[in-house]
Point group: C2
Chain length 203, copies 2
């Protein structure tokens, strides 16, 4: 027996989603059929609305349903510091720390020459223009610590410096981490980045 | 920073799905925003279409997009044998075995008096009517081997017998199973249900 066509199509389109395999897609499809109709249609509507309403912020390329995103239009935030991230969800992660009150710039990707991603494929020109036009004092690079992240950091610091202060997030031990479970690269960077204790806990 | 409303709503409606927690919902929502528009809208459409087009078969309560499902309308299938299952997806599992060429009846649930699910909450009356009207010779109970499944088997065999032959699926060792990993209840049932070797491999 085959499933009816509409059910087959539902299973297949669920299977497109990341981490959803054939078994999960089937289970989700049956749930969508068996749950109360408003619940299932709510998801259908939510997908459609999100695709129609959400767009990149005209300034920082964060997701927004306005011209300019909530962060860019907040007058309380410092506009002279710019934090560079790869994707909009990185902004959410950084905002949760409540450590940063400046503005952001979403690159949209990391440089990866082997995959054909050069400076023109990510929003580097837009970043250079903003740094120039908005009189940015400091650019904080909050990129992944992968090969692509390192390459992008290097490229950006060469493009931006020495006129602009370019910093990057500290590397070292994670909070709650065990020393003997930490890999040697991280440990090495934690060593090199060590700080005076009195600097960390000012009296 | 909060997400824009439409994105928040997408995350929340994804989180309704079984086995999708807040982190997965967020990841899926971003995927739906970042993937090509037709892919995301395909899922939205598929949910809507499935809910509009799929309904229970008028005879066996399997899912179908017709009045009567593919299996019920297949003239090649024996109509004198009825296999009782709990939910439409059980039919799919049984069909994959290619062992059975009769018709089905979807109960829609198992008896569970403690949860307030009595004979009137599942499609038992419909089953009794069908057995009577369609001159069914044998009713095969293909129910879970849980407490609810056992109770439902007992109830149905009392309601249907002795006029109709009521059988249930064999219980015993699973294919590829190791004896020492099999629990004692299953082993006990495998003992009680043992069969003569010559009956299993007829010359």
């Amino acid at each position: 027996m085959d499933y009816p066509e509409a059910l087959e199509e539902l299973v297949e389109s669920l299977q497109q989603l990341p981490t959803i395999g054939p078994k999960s897609a089937q289970r989700l499809a049956f749930w969508l059929l068996e749950s109360p109709e408003p619940k299932a249609l709510r998801l259908s509507e939510a997908i459609r609305n999100a695709r129609c309403q959400i767009r990149p912020c005209g300034r920082c390329f964060n997701y927004t349903d306005q011209e300019i995103c909530q962060i860019c239009s907040d007058p309380q935030r410092k506009s002279s510091v710019l934090c560079v991230v790869v994707q909009p969800k990185d902004i959410h992660a950084l905002e949760k720390t409540r450590e940063y009150r400046g503005s952001y710039h979403v690159l949209g990707g990391l440089l990866s020459p082997l995959d054909g991603i050069g400076p023109d494929e990510v929003r580097i020109q837009e970043l250079l223009d903003r740094v120039h036009e908005e009189n940015i004092d400091e650019v904080i690079l909050a990129l992944d610590t992968t090969v692509g992240g390192e390459a992008t950091c290097l490229y950006l610091s060469r493009q931006l410096g020495p006129k602009t202060t370019v910093t990057r997030l500290a590397q070292g031990l994670p909070a709650g981490g065990n020393l003997d479970y930490t890999d040697e690269v991280t440990l090495g960077r934690a060593f090199r980045g060590r700080r005076r204790v009195e600097d960390l806990n000012p009296q």
